[in-house]
């Protein structure tokens, strides 16, 4: 057994690096790190460049995976794709959306403060819809692809 990552491990390393770069772009873009960075906060261009780098790394990792035959398992690819996309949406709704809506605190529509209303009522409802949608989608995948497996 080699005690060093072999060629097929680099696909995973690339994927993790890509996700880390995207996370870094998210933290910098939302201004969460402004108070703790020892240097001035990067501008929009740097954040966009980081997003691009992250996407390139993830895309190349998926290309490697496909080239090495990793996508022949259609059931698992669809399962992982669905769970990955839905988890990302969940994280966006819980982590990024409140920061996005917070500056709208002073905006009122019909007397209702928009930011509070969205975070207290709309986001939880969106999360429930997302879970039910995921359950239906995954049930469909298992019904269709599960048959093909056997």
């Amino acid at each position: 057994m080699p005690l060093w990552p072999v060629a097929e491990d680099f696909q995973m390393i690339e994927l993790i690096l890509g996700l880390l770069v995207l996370l870094m772009a998210g933290v910098l873009g939302t201004g969460l790190a402004d108070g703790v960075l020892p240097v001035p906060a990067p501008g929009l261009g740097s954040v966009a460049a980081l997003i691009m780098l992250g996407l390139v790394l993830i895309t190349h990792s998926l290309y490697r995976h496909r080239r090495d035959g990793g996508m022949s398992d259609r059931f698992w690819m669809r399962t992982a794709g669905t769970a990955g996309a839905m988890s990302l949406l969940t994280a966006l709704l819980a982590l990024v959306a409140p920061l996005f809506f917070a500056p709208l605190g002073l905006l009122k529509i019909g007397g209702f403060p928009v930011s509070y209303y969205v975070v207290a009522e709309a986001l939880p409802i969106c999360l429930v819809i997302l879970i039910f949608h995921f359950v239906r989608r995954q049930d469909d995948i298992e019904t269709v692809e599960g048959d093909r497996e056997t």
Partner: protein, 742 residues
């Protein structure tokens, strides 16, 4: 597999209830509403002093859980461990939602939103997003693997060391949650039923035993579902009645808009007429005033990751028959949680309005609303730090001839220890004024309770206000403190609505605390009696022996948690989010990579779990128990402002120069300055993150360590990959008695 499937049959009672899930739920709801109607009629006929319909309803709900728990008794180990995997998805979801809507997210949440405003919403978003992540990434795969707990799943996937580490992490997090549940139960039940805190803890532990001891996890699923129904009705019905009464709308989420507009208007009025200052008043809807954006996000992330792998949550998926059912249970749980949660912001807004109105009207302290004086009897409402309960304790001390504040402190410590914290928190002039008032009251011997109350309202509050610099003697925002939970419970009575609505709210809050404590106690018991044993011992024991071991572990867990809560060694309710953080740090990397990454191996999992747990415990314990030392080591990573650091240095110099007998007090001041508050840490921190969100450091460390160690050590064996494949894929029909996961 768990190895518990064929050792004994479940009880007949359980089967009957399981086959009639719909009827059981309908019976619970009809019983609750029917009893509520009967109790209200009885209260009206006999008078509120003879029958308190609200408390009678709470008693009825407890009896219901006890009867359900006893009727689900079983001697089968399979029932105790995973409910024989025949609990319907909706019932499992309802039970999961009950333990989800903990005292921290039920009345506690209304209290948190009342206190924290917008920032309190993190306690809604974090756990709910975690429920979604758990349903998508974790629970169905653990359920499909055939294992009943996360620790046994990790044991199968990564070996015995990982199983033991996971079991220890489960015991740690679940014990913390169990203590928080019991503490929340006792904190609400003791003043409501007029018992001591210790008796309320014992009663809570006894109720948890009744729900879990006879039927184990299977019994817990059904009693949890009943508790879920009580919580849903207990929150939705009073919230609808209150919003109908206040704003003419039966739908709290819609009525909330009008409430928020009123809150904003009153906040402006209070600042304009000088009842509150702009610095002291934290506008309800304005974000990041009490928790900054960084900590808001860190806490949401921490709660989300922890909730996704919280052992008490994953066990709800394990009682269902398949991965598909486990997913559905997650979806039903989220729906029930949101249905209940949509009522909560309206309750907290109503609470704020109750406070803002008298403050905005600049009501004289002598003319305080009666409900405020009522709340101050238990210390739930304080005026410049003084409550009616504290005044009575000081009067007793003055009556025992306590000549000065020090003597009064000794007397209160000996006779009324519950009031010592409130007394010590007072400033010296306020203590002196209160002691004077206490002497006068003690001299007027033979005064009854009502006179006592009048003296408090007319004399004590005026003296205390003057001593605090409130010359006008009116109610001010900064001079008023009210506990959110007590205020929410008082809302129906304040609005002139039937007391049964307060009973429903109390039943909901107590049920959520019970459900949480029950799920946590079961997790600890299963970890102690099952997960810590090697697989050969798990499968070889006799059914009766295993059930006995589980029941003993259950009693041990409850006894230990009850003792810790009664002794008051920590404020467990405030520490509950830390359990999420520890669960995320220890379990999230191993569980998620264990399912989603074939390359992850045992070496990596053990290293990742140990590293994550170590970082989380180091950060949380460092900030709590040794903040000054922590700051000394990590000052380069602290976000403390220069002025704060200077103040800390000054306190350290004071400590160095202090006389030997004053050293301890000086050091306590240094530690308090370095520690700061739970949600707003002092100089001792990494990047300004609260210790409750330790997972934001620990999870990345755990993931990185697990990935790196896995990459540099041998790949998992073919047998392991086959097990993983079985956990990932739906099992097809293989014959008349084969697995049918689809």
């Amino acid at each position: 597999m768990s190895g518990y499937g064929n050792d004994a049959k479940g009880s007949a009672g359980r089967s009957v209830i399981a086959q009639n899930a719909g009827k059981t739920c309908a019976l619970v709801v009809c019983g609750l509403l029917g009893f509520a109607a009967l109790a209200t009629i009885a209260e009206t006929l006999a008078g509120a002093t003879v029958i308190d319909a609200g408390l009678a309803l709470v008693g009825f709900a407890f009896c219901l859980y006890a009867v359900l728990g006893l009727s689900l008794r079983s001697g089968a180990a399979a029932d105790h461990l995973d409910g024989s995997r025949d609990v319907p998805a909706f019932i499992a979801g309802l039970g999961a939602s009950a333990s989800w809507l903990t005292a921290g997210t039920c009345l506690g949440l209304a209290g948190a939103l009342f206190t924290l405003g917008f920032d309190g919403l993190l306690f809604v978003l974090g756990p709910l997003a975690g429920l979604a992540l758990g349903t998508m990434l974790v629970v169905p795969f653990v359920a499909r693997s055939g294992e009943s707990t996360l620790a046994s799943f990790l044991g199968r996937r990564f070996g015995p060391v990982a199983r033991c580490l996971a079991a220890l992490a489960t015991i740690l997090t679940s014990s913390l949650i169990l203590a928080a549940g019991l503490s929340a139960f006792a904190g609400l039940a003791a003043p409501a039923f007029g018992t001591s805190f210790a008796s309320a803890v014992a009663a809570g532990a006894a109720l948890v035993l009744l729900c879990t001891l006879p039927g184990g996890q299977g019994g817990l699923a059904w009693t949890g579902a009943a508790q879920g129904l009580v919580i849903l009705f207990g929150l939705m019905v009073p919230a609808a009645a209150l919003t109908l009464n206040a704003w003419g709308s039966l739908l709290p989420p819609i009525a909330l808009g009008e409430g928020l507009a009123s809150v904003t208007g009153l906040e402006t009025t209070m600042i304009e007429n000088g009842a509150a200052t702009a610095q002291a008043l934290k506008p309800y809807t304005k974000p990041f005033l009490q928790i900054d954006a960084l900590n808001f996000s860190a806490l949401v992330a921490s709660l989300m990751l922890g909730a996704a792998v919280l052992p008490t949550f994953v066990s709800w998926g394990a009682v269902t028959s398949s991965a598909r059912e486990a997913r559905s249970a997650g979806a039903w749980a989220s729906l029930c949680v949101v249905l209940a949660l949509l009522s909560v912001p309206a309750l907290s807004v109503l609470g704020r309005l109750e406070i803002y109105r008298p403050v905005a009207e600049r009501v004289a302290l002598a003319s305080l609303p009666e409900w405020m004086v009522e709340l101050s009897e238990t210390g739930a409402a304080r005026f410049h730090g003084v409550s009616l309960g504290l005044f009575r304790a000081v009067t007793r001390a003055a009556g025992a001839e306590a000549s000065d504040a020090t003597a009064a402190t000794h007397h209160i410590e000996a006779r009324d220890p519950n009031w010592l914290g409130a007394w010590n928190a007072l400033k010296d002039p306020v203590k002196a004024a209160l002691l004077d008032a206490g002497r006068s009251a003690a001299a007027a011997a033979g005064e009854d309770g009502a006179a006592d109350r009048e003296a408090f309202r007319h004399k004590v509050l005026a003296a205390v206000a003057t001593a605090s610099g409130n010359k006008a003697g009116t109610l001010t925002y900064s001079g008023l403190e009210i506990d959110g939970e007590a205020l929410v419970l008082a809302l129906p009575a304040n609005a002139g609505l039937p007391s049964i609505l307060s009973g429903l709210l109390l039943a909901a809050a107590l049920s959520s605390a019970l459900a949480l404590a029950g799920a946590a106690a079961m997790s600890v018991a299963i970890s102690l009696s099952h997960d810590l044993l090697p697989p050969s011992r798990q499968a070889s024991g006799r059914g009766a022996g295993r059930v006995l071991a589980l029941r003993l572990a259950l009693m041990l867990a409850l006894a230990a948690a009850g003792t810790a809560v009664t002794a008051g060694i920590e404020d467990f309710t405030a520490l509950a989010p830390l359990a999420f953080s520890i669960a995320a740090s220890a379990l999230f990397p191993a569980v998620v990579l264990g399912i989603w990454c074939k390359r992850a191996n045992a070496w990596g999992a053990v290293a990742g779990m140990a590293a994550g747990l170590a970082v989380a415990l180091y950060y949380a314990a460092g900030l709590r128990y040794g903040p000054a030392g922590f700051f000394e080591v990590w000052s380069a990573l602290s976000d403390a402002a220069p002025a704060t650091v200077k103040k800390l240095s000054q306190l350290v110099s004071d400590w160095e120069a202090a006389a030997p007998d004053l050293k301890a007090a000086a050091w306590a001041a240094v530690e308090a300055q370095a520690r700061g508050a739970l949600l707003d840490p002092g100089p001792a921190n990494w990047l300004g993150i609260s210790s409750l969100a330790a997972a934001v450091f620990a999870v990345p460390v755990g993931l990185a360590v697990m990935i790196l160690v896995s990459l540099f050590t041998p790949r998992p064996s073919a047998a392991m990959l086959e097990f993983l494949d079985r956990s990932r894929r739906p099992v097809r029909e293989t014959g008349p008695f084969g697995p049918t996961d689809l």
